[in-house]
Assembly symmetry: C2
């Protein structure tokens, strides 16, 4: 016997296809929307319909943007000698939020994953190298994740960048700020020891 009405079931199914949303959470969200005024569901629907038509990739950095070039690429106040390479637009948002970076970005739209058929040609690697060769960039900060595919992608990019003559750097790896070292995993701790930063020189 069908207990969930079909219109509700379809929405639950839609939600449960989103990342990190299981059937239980999807049901809770759909029931919440059904209990709220119809106008809220309509707002959400309109914003969904508007999303893809409003947003495109910036021709320079390939981030999601409503303008082309995007606001950051068009901003004369940014440091054009420094280029930060990230996996996804979401990573760019996180770095912008820190306020610690004033250069430009380049979005790869993924990481190397040979098992899934994702090689350099599936990412914006050719565009990165062309941009570095033709432009004002002096240093590329490779800000891919510290995961196995993120590190592999970083190594590959460093090799490729060596041929272009620009400097390449990598996000520092170590103990997270505010973390008790007894909770750090041994690999991170070992890396933090090897990459230790000197505070006082021998006198």
């Amino acid at each position: 016997m069908q207990v969930v009405p079909p219109a509700l079931e379809r929405l639950i199914h839609d939600f449960s296809r989103l990342p990190g949303i299981g059937r239980k959470t999807a049901t809770r969200l759909a029931l919440y929307i059904l209990r709220r005024p119809e106008s809220e569901a309509q707002n959400l629907a309109q914003d969904l319909l508007h999303l893809h038509s409003a947003i495109h990739l910036c021709r320079h950095c390939f981030t999601f943007s409503e303008t082309d070039p995007c606001g950051i690429c068009a901003d004369a106040g940014r440091n054009r000698r420094l280029l930060c390479v990230v996996e996804e637009p979401g990573d760019q948002l996180l770095i912008e939020k820190t306020g610690a970076f004033n250069g430009l970005y380049h979005i790869l739209h993924g990481v190397l994953a040979p098992m899934d058929g994702i090689g350099p040609d599936e990412l914006k690697v050719r565009e990165l190298l062309a941009r570095v060769r033709s432009g004002t960039v002096e240093e590329v900060l490779i800000a891919t994740s510290s995961t196995v595919p993120g590190e592999a992608t970083a190594s590959y990019l460093a090799d490729q960048l060596k041929k272009t003559g620009v400097a390449a750097s990598r996000l520092a790896c170590g103990i997270p700020m505010g973390m008790d070292i007894k909770y750090a995993d041994e690999y991170t701790l070992a890396h933090a020891i090897r990459a230790r930063q000197h505070m006082v020189d021998r006198s």
Copy 2:
């Protein structure tokens, strides 16, 4: 400087208003939808637009349904002497999933919360009492949550039902199936001891 494009920002804002979805999860969901084909966003939007117009409350039990009366109320095979009172349609779905209940339902659409101005008149209590008085019901199983407001609502309903002459019952409270008792809280454990079920009689 605006890093998140406005169309994306609006969708993130919409998602972050849903229960249990913070700004970070909302951003992840919106970026996921942006990376997927436009047709998927359109499907989700259509299902949202369709939701409220397709679904109404059943005139008998007040559950969400596309038909009136709903499938369960219209089903001649259900036991019309047993009525299960739940807080929300989601609770009904959970009980149906167990397969352990074959009676009818009555959805309160909330619990008593005097501090928030929610009294019996804001819930489907008058409708419950009218239904019990006029119908075939012999027992009302009060399946509100075992929370403070859920218990208060159950007590109130039991008082009201006493006047109608039908039996009222409550979901059993005790140790969850499969749980090691060392993880049970002391209140649940104390209740489970007092409400112990005899297995063998004295011979």
